[in-house]
Amino acid sequence: MALRVGCAAPPGRALDNKTGAWRVFKPVFDPETCSRCGMCAMVCPEGCVHETEEGTFEPDLDYCKGCGICEEVCPKKSIRMEKEEK
């Protein structure tokens, strides 16, 4: 591959890079105890936690790296990190 002048590159590669493969623990969300505060979506460094039609939240496991910040901030302790079977 020849280098592009000015070290220029088009964006858009991050979507192709499914970082979910990096994960060791995955977050499991319990919609029954969720208070729908949305803190988990706000703090997710990947921006991969999104709201469902019911108003609760769930992660996009294609991109979730399993960092566990959502579990840490959840005031209702509705998120649990589980060792993933691969």
């Binding site: 002048v5 000015g6 070290c7 220029a8 964006p11």
Partner: protein, 384 residues
Amino acid sequence: MLEFMEGSHAVAEIVKRCRPQVIAAYPITPQTHIVEDLAQMVANCELDAEYITVESEFSALSACLGASAAGSRVYSATTSQGLALMFEVCFNVAGMRQPIVMTIANRSLGAPLSIWNDQQDSISLRDSGWLQFYAEDNQEAVDLHMIAYKVCEDHDILLPAFVCFDGFILSHTYEPVALPGQEEVDAYLPAFTPYQRLDAEKPLSFGMYATPEYYTEFRYETDRALYRAKESFIKAGREFGEQFGRDYSALVEGYRLEDADTALVAMGSICGTAKDAIDEMRDAGKKVGLLKIRTYRPFPGPEIADALSGVSTVAVLDKNISLGGGGAVGTEVKAALYGSGAAVYDYIIALGGRDVRKRDVAAVVDLAEKGKGDMFYGLRTEVL
């Protein structure tokens, strides 16, 4: 047709005729008159450009970088501490291969504070990847701006350039200058065609993160582009000569070097004084000549070695000092002449606006011929 005008005004006039689309600059002595003139031209609708007023030189060159990446022909001007504040952006502009042309009204760097001329500012940016051209007089300063845009925007080059002219000594001097008309400039310098540019439809990032696997190769490519700029400059300088009758195809220019035993090497306005001094020394029977360096970057090492192949003594006039290492030009001339057998001496001279007279040039030649050099010339030892 010759017109009588101030050097800064002549530069502003030719910049206007090069049709920059974006100008961002921060005023600083002795560059001020150039950007004042350009701001006025834009305000009076004589020049169809965006003039971005900014709060610092760092912002000025950053704005220029963005505008250039967006596909505009861009201009800026600065000097001294202003250029120092641009240091980081200078490296980015070159690495992102943006063909920005910037006038440097050369001035010394503090501390101690000095507004007067030497060439410390641009020479301190020698490693940044900008082409550097030095003008001997205001005519050459005018002409080099047109050549600079032509070389920088060449798709084989894509590099930024400093057009350096000595602050005050040229910028504030009134002398006759032939200013090419708009149609003539347009004929020489066509509208800017970006090689690649920012476009919301086809997004692009410049100067991306390069890992150790790629960084060296990017630096190599930029370095190659600087060396290719030699040919591009020669071609643009020759074309300029064909159209305007003033030939700039030489990266270095000899003056009375044929049969010379001793050669001076210099850059910028000091060359004029040196030529007059050489005429007097020649009249007195001394075989002395001058080699003027027009393009400091790319450095014309082989061209210097070729031009000085017949001389036995070389005296380099350095209007800068790489503190703890000698004059920057002298160091490189010595490298270029390594193995030639010529004795090469370096003289730190004309720092911070100290005037240089013909007799000073003659004194340097005397010192070199006596084998005394690699020194500050004309030190006032009584104040040390």
